[in-house]
């Protein structure tokens, strides 16, 4: 709206003529449906949704194979339930350290945040170590391989390794992600208290924990 327009003060702003015989364009203001969530955070959520659907596909496939196979063995007979419970506890602890690290980052205490990020990554590494130990045991003592199982249908072994292996790959990715965040923290990138990147990383890590809770139930307990 130009100041030399003679009719500016006599019309409503939305319908003010500006020399062309029609109303001035009204700027489009998108609804703030995500409020304070950053684009990166919304993007991570969308990625996690697709990832969750992948896991859902695996778990449904596992359930279908199991439901159609009367010779499916009881999981706790061959899989180490106690060891996987320890791994579950470990991931829950790492989720706590993750949110605490983020909270310290918001308080502009980067050194404490760095400490908790490293602690979280360490928890992930221990989890991977437990998984490798479990795989070794299953290979050598339980008669399982990626495509065969001595004491039952081969699908029992293949689905187990697909589901837990896919999750283990996520844990590995999360550990790498956490170490990168820790490195950036050590470089002073988050000294100003803007920990949006760390929060996005935390979303991924909590998702890994959430998925393991379901995998632990469906593959080990039931």
């Amino acid at each position: 709206m130009t100041s030399d327009s003679p009719s500016t003060t006599t019309h409503d702003a939305h319908h003010a003529p500006h020399g062309h015989g029609h109303a001035a364009p009204v700027p489009f203001i998108p609804p703030d449906i995500f409020r304070h969530a950053s684009n990166g955070k919304v993007g991570m959520w969308i990625f996690l949704i697709t990832d969750a659907m992948t896991f859902a596909g695996f778990l449904i496939g596992y359930a279908m194979l199991r439901m159609r196979n009367p010779e499916w063995p009881t999981p706790d007979k061959y899989l180490g339930m106690a060891l996987s419970a320890v791994a579950t506890f470990l991931l829950i602890c790492s989720s706590v350290t993750m949110v605490l690290g983020q909270s310290y980052g918001e308080l502009k205490q980067p050194r404490k945040m760095l400490r908790y990020l490293l602690l979280t990554a360490f928890g992930g590494i221990i989890f991977l170590g437990i998984q490798v130990y479990e795989y070794q045991h299953l290979f050598h003592s339980a008669g399982m391989s990626f495509s065969n199982f001595l004491h039952g249908p081969p699908q029992f072994a293949s689905t187990f390794f697909i589901v837990t292996g896919f999750h283990g790959f996520h844990v590995f990715s999360g550990v790498v992600y956490l170490l990168i965040m820790a490195l950036r923290t050590a470089m002073g990138k988050y000294d100003n208290g803007d920990v949006n990147h760390v929060e996005i990383c935390g979303l991924f890590w909590h998702f890994v924990d959430l998925v393991w809770i379901l995998v632990f139930t469906f593959v080990y307990l039931i």
Partner: protein
């Protein structure tokens, strides 16, 4: 103004909340392990599974709501986060149905019989080792084997996949035409699987007519109807002459 009026939790409050959720998660994990032991007290496995699943979903909700901060997000982001659950239930409903379809290898049904399975001598050629349905690709293999100008047709030798190998057509010999019609006994189930001809406006023949297969004057095993997965090319009587 509303945002300013909204109470922002302090660090100590958040820390207390995180540890409270942590203990809930640990407690639910222990409860899950105890639920599994109920199986040894002769509690039905279904009930044990339901209890364990409820505890597990409760843990997942706690992680998503408090650790992933969904409690601070808008309803739109919460809705987006719930999308996988909707997809999960959708797939869970569809999955049992898909395995009940005749195309599924988990569906146990009598072998379907197509005209392509029948040689000139009237013998039924069964190829493939599948115990369930005849795969449409097997039907296509038989068609290419028996077709004039394709592979040699030998009524005494069932068609195999090796005959489809490139170069095998060099030894092809035209099959002797069989003038006499023959009748194949087709069960009611097999009749039910007879597909209507593709790309045709002609009415679907009656099942009794489908059961009677008449070989053409030249060539053998002309199909009375297109098999499942087949195309109109090579399936008409004119193509077989």
């Amino acid at each position: 103004m509303a945002a300013a009026a909204h109470h922002m939790p302090t660090f100590e409050e958040k820390k207390a909340l995180y540890f409270r959720v942590f203990w809930y998660l640990v407690g639910l994990t222990v409860i899950e392990l105890l639920f599994v032991q109920l199986h040894y007290l002769h509690v039905p496995k279904v009930i044990v599974s339901i209890l364990v699943c409820v505890a597990s979903v409760g843990k997942a909700v706690l992680v998503g709501y408090y650790y992933m901060h969904l409690n601070h997000e808008t309803k739109w982001l919460k809705f987006i986060a719930l999308l996988p659950i909707i997809a999960f239930f959708y797939a869970a409903v569809l999955a049992p149905d898909s395995t009940s379809r005749p195309e599924s290898k988990y569906f146990f049904a009598p072998d379907r019989v197509y005209p392509e399975h029948i040689s000139g001598s009237g013998e039924l050629h069964q190829v493939g080792s599948h115990e369930g349905n005849v795969d449409p690709r097997d039907a296509a293999a038989i068609r290419s084997t028996d077709a004039p100008g394709g592979l040699a047709h030998n009524p005494d030798q069932p068609a195999t996949a090796n005959e489809n190998a490139p170069g095998a057509t060099a030894h092809a010999e035209p099959a002797a035409p069989k003038a006499a019609p023959f009748v194949v006994n087709v069960s009611a189930d097999e009749q039910a699987y007879q597909a209507p001809p593709l790309f045709s406006t002609a009415p679907v023949p009656a099942q009794s007519a489908v059961a009677t297969v008449k070989p053409p004057a030249v060539g053998v095993g002309a199909p009375a109807a297109a098999p499942v997965g087949g195309t109109s090319s090579g399936d008409t009587e004119e193509d077989w002459k």
